[in-house]
Amino acid sequence: MKITLLGIVAATALLATGAAMAQGKPVCGLNNGKAASGEPIALGAVVGKTGPDDFSASALASQAYFKCVNANGGINGRPVELTIVDDQWNPEVAAQAAAKLVKDRKVLAMVGSSSFVECGVNAKMYAQENVMVIAGVGVPRECFFAKNYVPVNAGPRVSATVVAMHAAQQYKAKKMVCIIPNIPSLGNWACDGAKDWGKANGVDVSVIAIDPGSPDATSTILQAAATKPDAIILNVPKGIMVPMLAAAEQQGLAKKIHFVSSTPAYNFDVPKTIGAAWNGNFDIHLEFMPVESAGADNMNWKATMEAFGAKSDPRDSFAQAGYLAARIVTEALLKMDPKKIDRASVSTALRNVSGFKSDILCRPFYVGDGARHNANSSGPIAQVSGNGFKQVSSGCLMAADPELSDLREQEKKLGL
C-alpha cells in the first residue's frame, strides 16, 4: 500500500515536472530533435518594416518557427530557408522585393508576409507565377480579394464589424460612428462591413473618412460626437488612435460615449499610453485569442519564440499570425513527397488546406481554391484593464458582414 502511494506520488511528481519541461520545449514539425540537412526549401516574406509602423513581427515569428522545424527534422529532412525583405511601405520597393523573392530566389511560397502596400502591387504577379502567399497580416481590400493571397488575420472590415456587433450587444448601442482613414481600398471599404451589418439589424452606423495626415484629432472627435452616437468605432492605426483618444479624453467624452476599436489597438504599450481614463472603458476586437491565453498552441508559440526567436522580436498578435502561417505551411509541406516539392505542387497543397485547427484561432482555418480568402472572420473582445487587457466576451463573435456571404457558402461546402 505504502509503496503504491509512494509510487503514485513519485509518478505524479515526475509527470508534473515532465509537463513543466514539455511546456518549455516547443513542438514543431516532425519534432524529432534532429537537425535537417537536405536540400533547402526556399520561402519568402515581404514585410513593411521601415515606415509609419513596423509590421515585421509576423515574418520574424515565422522565421522562429522554421528554425524550430529545422532543428527538429526539417520538412522530411529538408531545412526551410525563409528570406525576409523590407518593402519600406513603398509600392515600388514592394514590386522589387517580390521580384527578388519570386524571380531571383525562386521561392516556393511566401509565408508570414505583412505589408500594407504589397497586396495591390504584387497580387497579379503572384497569380501569374502561381505562388501562394500565406500572409501573416493583410490590411487593404486587395489583400482579401486576391486569388493567391491568404491572410491569416481577419482584416479591418471584419474587425470593425465584430466590434460594432459587440457594442450593440453589450451597450445596446443603436447609433454608431465608424472612423476610418481616407486611403483608397480602406476608406471606402473597411467601415462598410459595420454599416451594412447595421442596416440589416436596425443599427445606424455612419462613416467618417479622415485624412490620416491631419494634425488635428480634436475636430474629428468633435465631428463624430456632434451626431450624438452611442458608440464610436475607431478603425485606425494605433498611431492615429492614441491622439484621438487623447482628444476625446480632453473633451470629456470618455464617460459619455462608448469607444471601441478594431484590432490595431491591441498592443501592449497602448493601455499605459492612453492612460487611466480608459480603464474598463475601451473595447477592442482581437483577431486571435489573447496573447496570454493558456491554450496549448498559444503556449507552444511562446515557447517557440523563447527558444528560437531573438529577444527583440515582439510577442504580439502579429507574431501569433506569423506563427500560424508558418505552421500551416509546414503541415502542408510535411504531407508532400519530399522529392516532389516544387512551386506548383506546393501551391496545390496549400490550396487544399482545410480544417486547420489551433486554439489561437476561433474557428478552423482553410485556404480553398476560391477567388478570394478571408478565413479568419471571428474573434474575442478584450477590454483595457489596468496596464493590460482582459477578455470580456465569452468566446468569439462571428462577423455577420453581408459581404462574407460567398465565403460562408464555401465554408459550408468544406464542412466547417
Partner: protein, 285 residues
C-alpha cells in the same frame, strides 16, 4: 448650419502650433538667411528626449531642459560647423543643407526610439477652459500664449537690440557685415541657439497637441512654411495671425461635406491664395 464655434475654438489649438513653428522659422530666416527644413526634426528629437526623461521619472522641468538642450546643441553644432561652409552659396542651397540635417536627425530618432505608441503628457493637460462645448486644455492655452509672447520677444530682439541688428545685417550681406566688424561667430551662435531653443519648445508642445511620432512632427514643418509665407518671411505678427487663421479654417473645414477628407490641404490652399493675391509684395525673397 451646424455650430461653428466649437471647431473655431478647437482650431485655435492647432493654430497655435502653426503660429509657433512659423515664428521659429521666420526668426532663423531673418537672422541667418536660412530656411530651416530641420525645424520639425529638431523638435521631434527634443520631444522624444523629454519622453524618455519622463519615463525615467525625471521631474518635468529637468526633462524639458534636457529636451531643449538637445535641440539647441544639435542646432548649434550645425550652425557653427556646417552652415558656414555653405555660407557663400545661394539661399536655396543653404536651406537644402538643412534638409540633410533633417534626414540625419529624423533617421536617428526613428532608429533609436523605434516605433511604439507614445504620448507626451504634460501636467497642463489636466486642466482646461470650457468654451462653447469645447475644452481647451491649459497646454493649448500655453501654446497660444507662447506664440504671442515669442512673437513680441523676438520682434523686440531683432528690432531693438544690438545683436538683433547684427543678425539682420549678417542675414542680408554676410561678407560686408564681417568687414564692417560684426562678430560673425558670436552672432551666428546666437541665431542658431535661439532657433534651436524655439524648435525644442515647439516640439514639446506639438508632441502633446498633435502626436508624438518623429516623421509626423518633422513634416509638420511644411504647413508651418505656409504660415511663414503668408507673413512674407518677414512679418512676425502676420505669421502668427496666419498660423491661427489656418488652424481655425482647417478645423472648420471638417464641416464642409466633400472637402473634409482633404482638409489637411487647407494651409497650402491659403498660402497659394495669399501668394497669388499679394504677388506684387512678394517679388523678391
Amino acid at each position: 448650419m451646424p455650430d461653428l464655434l466649437p471647431f473655431l475654438i478647437s482650431g485655435l489649438g492647432v493654430g497655435a502650433v502653426y503660429a509657433l513653428s512659423g515664428v521659429g522659422l521666420v526668426v532663423l530666416y531673418r537672422s541667418s538667411g536660412v530656411l530651416n527644413f530641420a525645424f520639425g526634426a529638431l523638435g521631434a528629437v527634443a520631444a522624444y528626449v523629454a519622453w524618455s526623461a519622463l519615463e525615467h521619472e525625471w521631474p518635468l522641468p529637468l526633462a524639458a531642459l534636457a529636451a531643449v538642450a538637445t535641440s539647441v546643441a544639435i542646432s548649434l553644432a550645425y550652425g557653427r560647423l556646417l552652415a558656414p561652409r555653405l555660407a557663400e552659396r545661394e539661399t536655396t542651397v543653404r536651406s537644402i543643407g538643412t534638409l540633410g540635417l533633417a534626414l540625419v536627425v529624423l533617421g536617428f530618432t526613428e532608429w533609436f526610439w523605434g516605433e511604439q505608441p507614445r504620448r507626451l503628457v504634460l501636467p497642463t493637460d489636466a486642466g482646461a477652459i470650457e468654451f462653447a462645448d469645447v475644452r481647451l486644455t491649459y497646454t493649448r492655452v500655453l501654446g497660444l500664449a507662447a506664440a504671442l509672447l515669442m512673437m513680441a520677444a523676438v520682434g523686440l530682439l531683432l528690432a531693438r537690440t544690438r545683436i538683433g541688428l547684427a543678425m539682420r545685417a549678417l542675414a542680408d550681406q554676410r561678407g560686408l557685415s564681417a568687414i564692417l566688424g560684426i562678430r560673425v561667430l558670436q552672432v551666428d551662435t546666437a541665431a542658431w541657439v535661439i532657433s534651436g531653443a524655439f524648435a525644442g519648445v515647439c516640439g514639446l508642445l506639438l508632441a502633446n497637441i498633435v502626436r508624438l511620432q518623429a516623421t509626423v512632427l518633422t513634416f509638420l514643418v511644411i504647413p508651418a512654411f505656409a504660415a511663414a509665407i503668408i507673413g512674407r518671411l518677414s512679418s512676425l505678427p502676420v505669421t502668427v495671425a496666419a498660423g491661427l487663421a489656418i488652424g481655425m479654417l482647417e478645423a472648420v473645414a471638417v464641416l464642409v461635406p466633400g472637402f473634409s477628407p482633404f482638409r489637411t490641404a487647407t494651409p497650402f490652399l491659403i498660402a497659394l491664395l495669399a501668394i497669388v493675391l499679394w504677388r506684387d509684395a512678394s517679388r523678391k525673397a
